[in-house]
């Protein structure tokens, strides 16, 4: 580890914290309907759609609207994948995507996972990348954000029947938040060297007399929203390790920021909407504690390298699968950022990380990506843990728990547990099935404990809607395409529906004034309790699974065992 490495990490945290209240203030205005720059466009769209922007929805209608929106998205993306060979903007003449792979890819992008069982530059046309994937990058991110805002409204409102209008929220989120930032971000990325062209792949005659076909495309416009919307699906197979998808260390730094800014800002939106910004800062503090701990372990492990490398006298850390321009610090930081949020973009191959370095991304996802998290998904995931924490705190003192003026009762706790339990069920359940199905075992790219870690990582990443991978696993098989699609679907919607039920039930409650007996939720005691609950409830579940994978691998590495 180096001083300059840590300087980059600390600077990163500082910029995220500095941007949080600024963006938080802006987002609050957007979702309160106080930004009206494009009101004529909005009004026209609402009239065409038959939406009355003044009429708000009950939590159930809000959720149904969200689900119907996804049905439309499913139809378009599946159609594009299957028919791309007949459609324009296909200079590389990519053929139709097979049905099982197409299903996996559609669920992957609808759920904001962006798990990729295909290689972008060798499988998809420019039209599919733009009208298929870029669209879902925007809309799945917008969906995540508006659901978080709906849940926040549940906490903020009292004796209310409604939690907002889905169509209005999703339109405003796209028009006022995602699109403007993406436009500026795209121009920055092109300046840094990212291609943005509809021209065909270029054949270069190399210096040594060979031929190199260079894949190009409208990369920057997709990468901008891929990062900002914590989608993470690469234009190219190597994702953000590809020099065209992440040309410089500066583009790398800004991409990492863009993964975190909206998620972090939503904690501030929460604080503002419930009328006490300290509530938002307390949540961000708990996230920060878990984040810094993860970065420290991952950076240390990667800088330390593997036994095989040290035995050969190689210094400079584990550079296998990493890019020269980023080095160890920026690669380790990226890995933690992308899995703390539900982004899943990678600027280095996680499969080649050291056992402990690769365990941190795994743990981040197993906790449910509540450290900043996916845009929206992170905050509602974290608020579920808050509900459990408050409930535990209430049990300790024998008093009905309250949070930001709302009594937390049996219904909320049950819904929160329903949402929290789905992750271990899907992650561990599918892993257990995969390691006894011979065709699934044959997909492993590495032998020994690492092969098992590849499978665990695959289902963890998909259920958590992350999308990063231990890429040695050959995931493009009917088994992984179908089980993965189920894991992604359950991981997203089994969490959303209970979260919306909580939103509806909280909104309907009366607000109670804080008394001397109310547990304060803005101080270090609450932050500590929240972190502890996350680690015990979220983390302990996975300890046996980790012991068989990365921990066993680390111990065998120390013994000099290779597989």
């Amino acid at each position: 580890m180096t001083l300059i490495g840590w300087t980059q990490i600390i600077l990163f945290c500082a910029v995220v914290v500095a941007l949080t209240p600024l963006l938080g203030a802006y987002l609050t205005r957007v979702f309160d309907g106080r930004i009206a720059l494009l009101r004529p466009v909005e009004t026209g769209l609402y009239r065409l759609a038959g939406v009355d922007p003044q009429r708000e929805q009950h939590w159930l209608s809000y959720t149904v609207a969200m689900l119907l929106f996804h049905v439309a998205g499913f139809a378009l993306l599946y159609g594009l994948l299957r028919l791309q060979s007949l459609l324009p903007f296909n200079p590389a003449e990519q053929g139709a995507v097979a049905p099982d792979l197409a299903l996996n890819t559609v669920i992957s992008f609808l759920t904001n996972t962006n798990w990729q069982n295909y290689g972008g530059e060798s499988a998809l046309s420019y039209l599919t990348q733009m009208l298929g994937l870029t669209v879902q990058n925007f809309l799945s991110a917008a969906t995540g954000m508006v659901l978080a805002v709906a849940l926040i409204r549940g906490f903020a409102r009292a004796s209310a029947k409604t939690i907002g209008n889905f169509w209005v929220d999703v339109t405003r989120c796209t028009l006022y938040v995602l699109l403007p930032i993406s436009i500026v971000f795209t121009i920055f990325l092109v300046w840094q060297g990212m291609p943005q062209t509809l021209g065909p792949y270029v054949d270069a005659a190399t210096v040594e007399g060979g031929k190199q076909t260079i894949a190009l495309g409208p990369v920057a416009s997709q990468v901008a929203i891929k990062m900002l919307g914590t989608n993470g699906g690469g234009f190219f197979n190597a994702n953000a390790a590809h020099p065209f998808e992440n040309p410089t260390a500066l583009s790398n730094f800004v991409q990492m920021l863009s993964i975190f800014v909206l998620g972090a800002a939503l904690t501030n939106v929460f604080g503002r909407m419930v009328g006490d910004q300290r509530q938002g800062w307390a949540i961000l503090a708990a996230m920060g504690v878990l984040f810094i701990a993860g970065v420290a372990v991952c950076y240390w492990a990667e800088a330390h390298g593997t036994e095989a490398m040290r035995a050969l006298g190689l210094a400079g850390g584990n550079m296998e699968g990493k890019e020269t321009r980023f080095g160890i610090a920026a690669s380790a930081l990226f890995a933690v950022v992308t899995t703390a949020a539900s982004c899943g973009a990678v600027n280095a191959m996680h499969d080649s990380f050291t056992a402990l370095g690769g365990m941190i991304p795994l743990i981040n996802m197993e906790l449910g990506e509540i450290v900043i998290g996916g845009v929206g998904a992170g905050l509602y995931g974290m608020l579920l843990f808050v509900v459990i924490t408050i409930f535990l705190a209430g049990l300790m003192v024998g008093r009905t728990p309250e949070y930001v003026g709302k009594k937390i009762e049996a219904r909320e706790v049950k819904m929160a547990m329903l949402a929290i339990l789905i992750l271990p069920l899907v992650m561990l359940g599918f892993t257990a099935i995969a390691v006894v199905v011979p065709s699934a075992v044959a997909s492993m790219g590495n032998a020994g404990p690492h092969g098992y870690s590849e499978v665990l990582y695959a289902f963890t990443s998909q259920a958590a809607n992350n999308g990063s991978a231990f890429g040695g696993l050959s995931g493009n098989t009917p088994f992984y395409n179908l089980t993965g699609a189920i894991a992604m679907f359950l991981g997203r919607f089994w969490m959303i529906v209970p979260a919306m039920a909580i939103a509806g039930s909280l909104a309907a409650k009366r607000s109670v004034a804080a008394t001397a007996g109310t547990f304060p939720t803005t101080g270090p005691l609450f932050v500590g309790l929240l972190v502890g609950t996350i680690l015990i409830v979220g983390g302990l579940t996975f300890f046996p699974a980790l012991a068989v994978g990365p921990i066993a691998e680390h111990l065998s590495m120390l013994q000099g065992v290779a597989y």
Binding site: G193, A220, A241, M319, G321
Partner: protein
């Protein structure tokens, strides 16, 4: 539920056209106008022919050139399209080795490459980036140490003084972005093009 179908269709189609067609096409126009070189892939042309991209590494195997990172990219096997064969620096199918920390294949490869490198330059410690594959398989750069490590070999093959080659490498080192981000590095393609020019400009004795 039925009454939400019209909003779902209209809102989806409108937002899809906006974000999936208007936005990427407009950005393509703006990018091509503002930064045409970058937007088209930072291509390098020589005598009217594209010889590569400054951002995309290419394979250098000849002893007279500086070599880049190892590349684990593959291409379909011409004999059997269901299999792949190694094809370093395949810029149409990026990817890494994905070999894990306890992989025997990785340990063996490292041992062989380190032994070969030590033979080439026994006096200096082998830089780790010279014997590891990059994440993309297309890394255009190596560390300054990895470039300097190769100077004795190239000096011998090209019959040039080592000091001159060292000066060439030094002049091509790019520092951290804004003095802070990432790592110092040398672009291998640009370095090798400069190396070829160095040979041309010198009167041979």
């Amino acid at each position: 539920m039925l009454k939400e179908i019209r909003p779902a269709l209209v809102t989806f189609v409108a937002l899809a056209c906006l974000t999936g067609l208007v936005y990427p096409l407009a950005m393509t126009g703006i990018a091509q106008a503002l930064f045409p070189a970058q937007a088209s892939g930072s291509l390098i042309e020589q005598d009217g022919r594209v010889i590569g991209s400054t951002l995309i590494g290419q394979s250098f195997a000849d002893a007279k050139y500086f070599h880049g990172r190892l590349s684990a990219t593959t291409a379909p096997d011409p004999q059997d399209s269901s299999k792949t064969v190694p094809a370093p620096y395949n810029a149409a199918a990026s990817g890494g080795s994905n070999l894990g920390p306890t992989s025997k294949a990785l340990a063996d490869r490292l041992a062989a490459d380190v032994a070969a490198a030590k033979q080439e330059n026994p006096s200096v410690r082998v830089p780790v980036d010279l014997v590891t594959t990059s994440g993309s398989g297309l890394d255009p750069e190596i560390s300054p140490e990895a470039a300097l490590f190769q100077v004795p070999r190239i000096a011998k093959v090209r019959n040039l003084p080592e000091a001159e080659l060292r000066a060439l490498v030094d002049s091509r080192i790019e520092g951290r972005d804004l003095g802070l981000f990432g790592e110092p590095r040398v672009n291998v393609l640009k370095l090798n093009l400069a190396l070829d020019r160095l040979g041309q400009n010198r009167p041979r004795t």
